[in-house]
């Protein structure tokens, strides 16, 4: 019972720290990491009407972390008047991706079919990624709402990676790896990623080697991107709560160690 009570105190303390720091909504001062800055600057330098593929390769469970990254990047590409081809290589990411695309496109007055399209989900991700290098229309004869891909204005003169400046994989697992391996290595396609924090160290070697062009990682990455973009949103607001939670965890580790060493000394002494 004593153990259970300690656990509740720890959880309640964490919840209190997060809720209080989140409701305070103070501006969180942060500086952009080189990887986030590289992602932002590249999109910033792209000429108008350039085409980017945004692939929503994540599950619904990682949405709280993925959404701030995806929304920040989508707002940026739409504000820059880039054309967006959305798709998903993860079944659960399909409806989420479509909703986020429509929401951000609506905010920036972009039109479906002309400025952006959502092609939907394709199983067998390896053959889908390789297939896009041969013919996007053949892999996706219809878009997600059921329109013939051929008939969409955005798809005019676009059928392979040759017309695509960047693939942005919004992922919580190893799907970005397949973009690097197949689109990057075989078709020399630039690949960028928006990743959950848990995946950052797995992709660091690919970022260092240049196989992955840039990474916007975790809530911190979203906050950095919002800072560069100049619009504070969920990422920035969440960072204060995250910093509070981290300080709380560090304090618990220190307190735990002090208790541990004191009890050990007491046992030795008596």
């Amino acid at each position: 019972m004593e153990r259970l009570r300690t656990r509740w105190i720890i959880f309640l303390g964490l919840a209190a720290v997060v809720v209080i720091s989140y409701t305070m909504n103070l501006p969180f001062k942060t500086s952009a990491s080189p990887a986030t800055e590289k992602a932002y600057k590249y999109i910033e330098t792209l000429p108008e009407s350039s085409v980017v593929i945004i692939s929503f390769d994540h599950e619904a469970s990682s949405l709280p972390e993925i959404q701030p990254i995806a929304l920040a990047m989508l707002r940026h590409v739409f504000r820059k008047n880039l054309r967006v081809i959305g798709l998903s290589l993860f079944a659960e990411g399909t409806a989420i991706g479509y909703e986020m695309l429509n929401r951000t496109a609506g905010e920036c007055n972009r039109n479906y079919g002309r400025d952006y399209v959502f092609l939907g989900f394709k199983p067998q991700y390896i053959s889908a990624i390789l297939g896009l290098g041969e013919s996007i229309r053949r892999v996706f004869p219809e878009d997600y709402p059921g329109n013939k891909t051929d008939t969409l204005a955005i798809m005019r003169n676009i059928d392979t990676y040759d017309s695509v400046r960047m693939v942005i994989s919004i992922a919580d697992g190893d799907r970005t790896m397949q973009w690097i391996e197949y689109a990057g290595a075989r078709y020399n396609q630039k690949v960028m990623a928006g990743l959950t924090a848990a995946m950052i160290t797995s992709y660091d070697p690919y970022l260092s080697s240049g196989q992955l062009f840039a990474v916007v990682g975790g809530l911190r990455g979203a906050a950095e991107y919002e800072l560069l973009y100049g619009r504070r949103a969920a990422g920035n607001r969440g960072m204060l709560a995250q910093s509070g939670a981290h300080a709380y965890v560090i304090a618990l580790i220190i307190i735990g160690n002090i208790i541990f060493f004191r009890s050990r000394r007491r046992k030795r002494e008596g």
């Binding site: 259970l4 909504n25 972390e65 290595a185 160290t201 070697p205 080697s209 969440g238 709560a241 965890v249």
Partner: protein, 204 residues
């Protein structure tokens, strides 16, 4: 308030009730999550694979060639009978063969060759100063490889290198764990945002 937001809010609280202790409300919410995830994936796969790629092109556009994957797919079901289960080996062999053929060269190039070439950097930079990053990468690479080298006993030079390798591995595990904690916190903060903003309307 939308009915979806109310359900999502109640289910979020139901999942967090586990922090108190395991209880039927949590179990019900967990079962819903698993059931809905599988159900949703099944519907998406059925539509995007069976209907869009097979049924429609085969029976509406009469692409007869699609009978081959249809038959191969049906052969997978032969596993349900011990007499006919050998038939399933044909599509499995085809899948493994083509899968390995496509994946091995790509993985070898992207994960091994490109990574090897990226780890070979000049130790002295162009202006004559030592390249610290390259030195750390070199020492980290060799010592970590030494740790996984089991053909000789870890004694002497190999033993010391392997020990150094464990420190590099621990730094990696520590960084990964730290990022994972950060990731879980972000997920929690995301749900707090949903509860306070959309569900309870306490903040705007």
């Amino acid at each position: 308030m939308e009915i979806g937001t109310i359900i999502a809010g109640i289910l979020t609280l139901a999942i967090y009730s586990f922090l108190y202790r395991d209880n039927p409300v949590y179990k019900a919410a967990e079962s819903w999550l698993i059931g809905l995830s599988i159900g949703y994936a099944l519907v998406v796969f059925w539509q995007s694979t069976i209907i869009d790629i097979l049924i429609v092109p085969l029976f509406s556009e009469w692409r007869i060639i699609l009978i081959i994957p249809l038959v191969l797919g049906l052969m997978m079901f032969s596993r349900f009978s011990s007499k006919t289960s050998w038939l399933s080996r044909i599509p499995i062999a085809l899948m493994i063969g083509t899968g390995a053929g496509v994946a091995i060269p790509a993985m070898l190039y992207a994960r091994t060759l490109k990574q090897m070439s990226a780890s070979i950097m000049p130790l002295i930079s162009e202006n004559g100063t030592p390249n610290i990053e390259a030195l750390v990468v070199l020492i980290g690479l060799l010592s970590t490889l030494a740790y996984f080298y089991f053909s000789r006993e870890h004694k002497g030079v190999i033993g010391n290198a392997a020990k150094l390798g464990t420190y590099f591995l621990m730094i990696f595990f520590g960084a990964t764990f730290g990022y994972t904690v950060m990731s879980r916190m972000s997920t929690f903060i995301g749900r707090v945002d949903f509860l306070l903003t959309d569900f309870l309307h306490l903040i705007k």
